[in-house]
Symmetry: C2
Subunit: 340 residues, 2 copies
DNA sequence: TCTCCGTTGCGAACCGGTTCGACGGTACAG
DNA sequence: CTGTACCGTCGAACCGGTTCGCAACGGAGA
């Protein structure tokens, strides 16, 4: 494998000159530059990443910590990963991926050994045990998901409060007066998945303000349980005319459930979900939904992270907490309630 | 950040002694070893990955090239990735992930710059344009998916021929005489997704041998097109009593399609799919299926790759091509055809 | 008591880049 | 004609590990 020493020898210059010719950090005569570039092509030279990392203390790698928890819906996580990975590449970074259950360990390994220039944490819990470690690390970190304490990191998340309000307002405006909200499993909340109750509380409050009824319930994250859950809820609240779904697995199961009950949206029931457009296309979900924008959130997180890594953000520049405003994508699954 | 020099100073020994005390590659007195270990703990020392990579030419990182093609079903790919990632971690390796469309570029970047010790290629096409690059790389490579030419790499794949035969045999034995096979989109085949026709050809041949009819067709990889495709096929072959599905999107869409037609399996139609158990659980698919074992294949690929990296496999040890034998998981969606 | 050998530790070189300081040469202004 | 500034290049040091060769030391055997 060719080194920069080989390049220098072939070009007839010193190693440092070859380095400067390639980096452009000092002025170099056109003649020498040409010779160096020719030598690079001739030898097929590529800099050794380890050596460069050692010399510059920069790896051009971003650590991505994803967790695939038993009680969450894996395909939804994939979209965040792809948003992060693709954006990183556009900005010239590679992704070191950790999927192990013990995120703290992975995080420590990556940061302490200086394998990465920065860290992206997905699926952040309210009191995420990875956060204290991240704060002590020398590398900057960006989160997708809102923790209780945002100190020392950049945070990006969907505005779940706004999403909850928007769902309720939308159906209220159409004339609905009794709604059911299906959230993620209660277990997710207990673990600290704050986005569940952020949406739920805001929806409940919005319903209260408007004087309408909202039944807030949890649903399983897996088939076939979640199908049974949906049947149970529709049985329990026969007068509800609107269904709000903050649970990907439930959304994916709903078409079958409605078929089984010989219901259709919006004729018999208005439905609003909360998932990404990509998700809707993959599973052919015909329901209007709040766009959860995983690719956009991943992209924002990486953008900000890279800004901070490359010091365009001053080291002491305050950290950001940025919420993406929810948008309702109308797929025609809501209408005025049937009058009967 | 503490370096091994700091550790050595605190322990009162030379850098080389500290290194040997930690690696155990030379005998070290118990006293010195204790002092070095104490210093490591006191300083919170972790070796710098770049420096170690430079010195040892080993990174303990495996490159993972996944492609998310427009005409394939993304959630299925995720399972292969997790199999690879989790196994790598168990063996002490981290994963450098590339999801960019241009796999050749990603591959070259990783191998030329020595960021990785080995490469895992997912979703390998028959004439995969990444293979020539991988063969020239100094790092070993393991594939999930069977290319036309397996020289220079280790190859792991499901035995799709056997899978095709197994599906046909199973339904033939139950008494079915007219079957429909729904494959991946024809576009996948054109691009070189050989597993599609490997299964299809074997199924066709198995049907021919037994003197029964098999209609081999393609289906879209996306909703809602694939639903229409399924309706079209069931319309076109009203006398078919068995449905073979080698297409994840079609499998995921089938429950809805059958509902719409007021059919149920196996009463009206026997169904056999080809997807993983994990996939079946995620999407609540009640169909018997050939287990595609993505986690197992990912695991095998990484195991062999690591063996080769660590030289337990002699450098000249012949490469392996290993097929996983398909197993039919019975979920009760097949029975003797209805007599009418 | 001398020799030999095994144990234990040290110094130096090396991996392959980057970067700082210095130096010779040329151009230009005074 | 001299002084100065700048341009282009080089040598050396450094990043933080690993590893080879050597030497000091101590114990055992002759």
């Amino acid at each position: 494998m060719a080194t920069i020493g080989d390049v220098a020898r072939v070009a007839g210059v010193s190693r440092s000159t070859a380095s400067y010719a390639l980096s452009g950090k000092r002025t170099i005569s056109a003649d020498v530059r040409r010779r160096v570039e020719a030598a690079v092509r001739e030898l097929g030279y590529t800099p050794n990443a380890g050596a460069r990392a050692l010399a510059t203390s920069q790896t051009r790698v971003i650590g991505l910590l994803a967790q695939f928890l038993e009680d969450e819906f894996a395909p939804a996580m994939l979209q965040y990963m792809l948003g992060v990975s693709n954006t990183a590449r556009e900005l010239g970074y590679d992704i070191l991926l950790a999927t192990e259950a013990d995120g703290r360990n992975a995080l420590r390994r990556m940061t302490d050994s200086r394998m990465v220039d920065g860290i992206v944490l997905l699926n952040v819990a309210e009191h995420d045990d990875r956060l204290p470690i991240l704060r002590e690390a020398p590398q900057p970190g960006a989160l997708v998901g809102l923790p209780a304490d945002c100190a020392g990191v950049d945070v990006f998340d969907l505005d779940f409060e706004d999403a909850g309000r928007l769902m309720v307002e939308h159906l209220h405006r159409l004339g609905h007066r009794e709604l059911v909200l299906v959230s993620q499993p209660e277990h997710v909340v207990e673990r600290g998945g704050a986005y569940v109750w952020r949406l739920q509380n805001a929806a409940t409050e919005a319903a209260r303000v408007r004087g309408i009824t909202l039944h807030a319930e949890f649903g399983s994250a897996h088939q076939p349980e979640v199908g049974h859950d949906l049947h149970g809820l529709l049985d329990a609240y026969p007068r509800a005319t609107g269904l709000l779904i903050n649970n990907e697995a439930a959304a994916a199961a709903l078409p079958t459930v409605l078929h089984e009950r010989e219901l259709s949206a919006p004729a018999d029931l208005s439905v609003v979900g909360r998932y990404s457009d990509e998700f809707a296309r993959t599973f052919s979900l015909p329901y209007s939904s709040i766009e959860s924008a995983p690719d956009r959130l991943g992209r924002m997180a990486v953008r900000e992270l890279v800004r901070r890594i490359e010091g365009q953000a001053g080291a002491d520049e305050p950290h950001v907490v940025r919420f993406v405003s929810p948008e309702l994508i109308d797929r025609g699954s809501t209408a005025a309630p049937r009058e009967d």
